[in-house]
């Protein structure tokens, strides 16, 4: 026994064969293990060979980046000029040309705030206040009329700022409403419960577009004569009402996940309903709900693009109106790919963040 141990220590450690480690080993175990996987790999490689080089040629090699529409019509490749030549209109819509620094600044503030809020160490009360201040400043920058800023009619808002405005304000307002609805749905008062259930199920059962139709054609009929509400606000309200119902369901899931003992402990401490919810239940429930909430936020962000249908000039609509210009007709693919890229970046960051948060909170 003793001798055997000695001999093993004495011999050199045998290296694994070259075919099972390194690049070759990796390829063998991940791409060519078995005839079926080999076949799949070869098939996929063939398809990629057929599609990727022509796409790269179209998008990068043969493409035009800065030119006019006429030059594009002659070329075979992608015409990215449709973006570069109309970037300001696509981004800002009909916002007065000289004042476009204002929406730009507002967007930068928003992005800075979002990046600052990413870190969980910064989640304090002061952050909530600074969000409030930032939202007011952003609104002021868009609307103007104070501190020597020239007023800009909301009908001139458009492009990316409008998309972000609809999503950010929509989500901020929908969240509290959703929490109230979820609490109402779990209330023991039958009338309140019934109202909340009807509201949530009604909204979740219909497509957003029907609510947008409602806001654009039916809502004006509800108001007394002489009172009008502007179009953006109406669409915003429709988005808020729609998102709130979905958030309510997420919150309900979170509330149901809190063990009954927590409620009972709070009760035995003599806390009343508001205190129980505010101090015990909601802080725990909201933590559980972060990942599903983010996915609601992502879909709400994507859904803001539906305002195109009621003719608001959001990012998608400004792009379409560029494409209806005879000079730039026929370059939809390039323009849509660009817009898709913007949406993808935003959504990808959000979902990536939610995944990271989920991991952090799991511990």
């Amino acid at each position: 026994m003793q001798r055997k141990a000695q001999t093993t220590t004495a011999t050199d450690t045998i290296k694994p064969p070259i075919t099972s480690v390194g690049v070759i080993g990796w390829m063998r175990s991940n791409l060519f293990n078995g005839w079926f996987n080999t076949f799949l790999t070869l098939l996929v490689l063939y398809l990629l060979w057929k599609t990727v080089p022509p796409f790269v040629r179209w998008a990068l090699v043969d493409s035009l980046w800065i030119s006019d529409g006429a030059a594009c019509q002659k070329s075979d490749g992608a015409c990215w000029s449709v973006i570069t030549a109309n970037l300001r209109f696509i981004t800002f819509g009909f916002f007065p040309h000289d004042l476009q620094w204002r929406p730009l600044l507002a967007m930068l503030i928003l992005i800075a705030m979002l990046f600052y809020s990413r870190n969980r160490k910064h989640w304090k009360k002061s952050l909530a206040y600074s969000w409030g201040v930032a939202l007011i400043i952003m609104g002021l920058l868009m609307k103007g009329g104070l501190f020597g800023l020239a007023p800009v009619e909301s009908s001139q808002w458009g492009g990316l700022p409008l998309t972000l405005l609809l999503s950010v304000f929509g989500l901020t307002a929908a969240y509290p409403l959703g929490v109230v609805l979820a609490l109402g749905r779990r209330s023991r008062m039958p009338a309140i419960k019934m109202l909340c259930v009807i509201y949530i199920e009604l909204i979740r059962g219909v497509p957003l577009i029907s609510l947008l139709f409602m806001s654009s054609v039916v809502f004006p009929l509800f108001l007394p004569e002489g009172i009008t509400v502007n179009k953006i606000l109406r669409a915003q309200v429709a988005i808020i009402l729609f998102t709130a119902a979905y958030i309510a369901e997420v919150v309900r899931g979170g509330l149901q996940a809190i063990p009954k003992g927590q409620y009972e402990a709070a009760e035995s401490l003599g806390l009343n309903y508001v205190q129980t919810m505010r101090l015990i239940v909601l802080p725990q429930a909201l933590k559980i709900m972060i990942p599903p909430t983010v996915s609601v936020l992502i879909s709400a962000f994507k859904d803001t693009s539906l305002v195109v249908i009621i003719a608001l000039y959001d990012l998608l609509k400004t792009t379409q109106s560029v494409l209806s210009d005879p000079q730039w007709m026929g370059f939809s693919a390039e323009a849509y790919i660009f817009i898709a890229f913007i949406y993808f970046i935003c959504c990808f960051f959000m979902s990536d963040y939610s995944r990271r948060l989920e991991k952090e909170l799991e511990t």
């Binding site: 991940n30 791409l31 790999t41 009604l202 059962g205 139709f213 054609v217 108001l223 990808f348």
Partner: protein, 424 residues
């Protein structure tokens, strides 16, 4: 009186959220009061939870009622002032607009009611075909996502990530532009496979020419389905009684394929195809999918399939490896493991979110209005524009979609009850 109410001057909103604990505490307080008759007081009604609940609910209902009354009176006044008709009488009137494609015969001389039915049928058509294709594609991609092949798994992951993160409306616009701008005219139509033509007039493909045999084959297939149903029941009964296993899978497959084939053979194997041919500016014959329909279908299927793939992946991963090992060690064959152990468990995880994705697809099909496919919302929109009766139109849209979703959730509840784990 020692009251526990910190905020007895509770505001209206705060009162609404009142819970059981308070009620219990209240009772406690009442008891202690009754122990000391000297200090006994009449509980004011705002401190009596049951009464307070009642008044609070009454208040909320009254507020909702008032709001409703206010809106209705406003609306009636507005309708009168603008001389807009009310009621659903317009359904009977002549619609005077054409619809591009419909499953039932329709012309501009027909009524609005019929136009709306055409719209509903179109919505159902695109949703049904879309759901079938989505489930197939989604399952395929979900399985590919878990493939041992690195390349395949990464490609599937990329597909899922990219398509989930782009708004469906943008995807629909893209596919619509794909058909109208990027594809050639019918004369230079792309012809990837024999009998399939892609052009800016849509997707055309050959179908078997009409023959009476097809109807009989469909009947034969239906009969085969019924036979298989009874076969499965019989086999189960026999297995329960005697323990003998009947090869249900192979026999039912043979019946399902064999019976229609037999009928086909009796009619002498009619193989004539109705192939599309270029005539004038468009194709004639074959099955023609309009660019709008094709764009809508492709967009919806790809978008929803990305979500379905994630659901399928989660469902497969939810079943631990131990289940497979345990089943194998019991001596079950691979097919039996899948059929008797894995699928019943993962379907329980997969089906509920899958249904909600199907419902999403149906709701998203309403975006057809943006690319001009005459679905229900699009037809209702035209109706609203022509008649001016926005309230009725939007109400119809909401009712129809609510019916879809209520029907689905009823089915879902039935399924959940059937599949729920029976716990002691």
């Amino acid at each position: 009186m020692p009251t526990i109410w910190q905020n007895s001057g509770l505001q209206h909103e705060q009162v609404k959220i009142l819970c059981k604990s308070q009620r219990d505490h209240e009772r406690q307080a009442m008891k202690t009061d009754s122990d000391h008759p000297n200090t006994q007081e009449v509980i004011p009604f705002w401190n009596d939870p049951s009464k307070r609940d009642f008044f609070f609910q009454l208040g909320v209902l009254a507020m909702v009622g008032c709001l409703g009354y206010y809106l209705i009176t406003n609306t009636i006044a507005n309708l009168e002032r603008q001389a807009i008709a009310t009621g659903f009488g317009f359904l009977e009137r002549e619609s005077a607009f054409e619809i591009g494609e419909s499953l039932i015969s329709y012309s501009a001389a027909d009524s609005y009611g019929r136009a709306l039915i055409v719209g509903v049928l179109n919505t159902l058509k695109v949703s049904f075909i879309g759901i079938v294709l989505t489930v197939l594609l989604g399952t395929f991609i979900g399985v590919a996502r878990l493939s041992a092949n690195w390349l395949v798994a990464k490609l599937a992951a990329g597909f899922i990530e990219v398509l989930q993160d782009i708004p469906i409306l943008l995807q629909l616009f893209f596919w619509y532009a794909f058909f109208y701008e990027m594809l050639p005219s019918p004369r230079q139509a792309l012809n990837p496979i024999t009998g399939v033509f892609l052009s800016n007039r849509g997707l055309v493909f050959g179908i078997p020419a009409a023959h009476p045999a097809h109807i009989y084959m469909a009947i034969a297939f239906a009969v085969a389905c019924i036979l298989v149903y009874f076969l499965i029941r019989q086999a189960r009964k026999r297995q329960a009684l005697t323990g003998l296993v009947f090869p249900v899978g192979r026999v039912s497959l043979a019946i399902l394929i064999g019976l229609p084939l037999l009928v086909w053979g009796i009619h002498g194997f009619p193989t004539a195809m109705n192939m599309p041919e270029l005539g004038g500016f468009n194709f004639e014959g074959g099955m023609n999918l309009s660019p709008e329909f094709a764009a809508l279908l492709i967009g919806l299927v790809l978008y929803t399939a990305a979500f379905v793939a994630e659901i399928v992946r989660a469902g497969i991963q939810a079943i631990s490896q131990g289940q497979t090992e345990a089943a194998l060690s019991l001596g079950l064959k691979k097919g039996q493991v899948l059929h008797l152990v894995i699928l019943p468990q993962s379907l329980r995880v997969i089906i509920p979110p899958l249904t909600s994705q199907m419902l999403n697809l149906t709701k998203n099909s309403s975006l057809a209005v943006a690319i001009g496919f005459p679905d229900f919302v699009s037809v209702a929109g035209t109706t609203i524009n022509q008649t001016g009766q926005a309230i009725e139109g939007v109400a119809l849209i909401m009712i129809i979609y609510l019916c879809f979703s209520l029907l689905t959730s009823a089915l879902m509840n039935w399924y959940n009850k059937k599949m729920a784990l029976v716990e002691r």
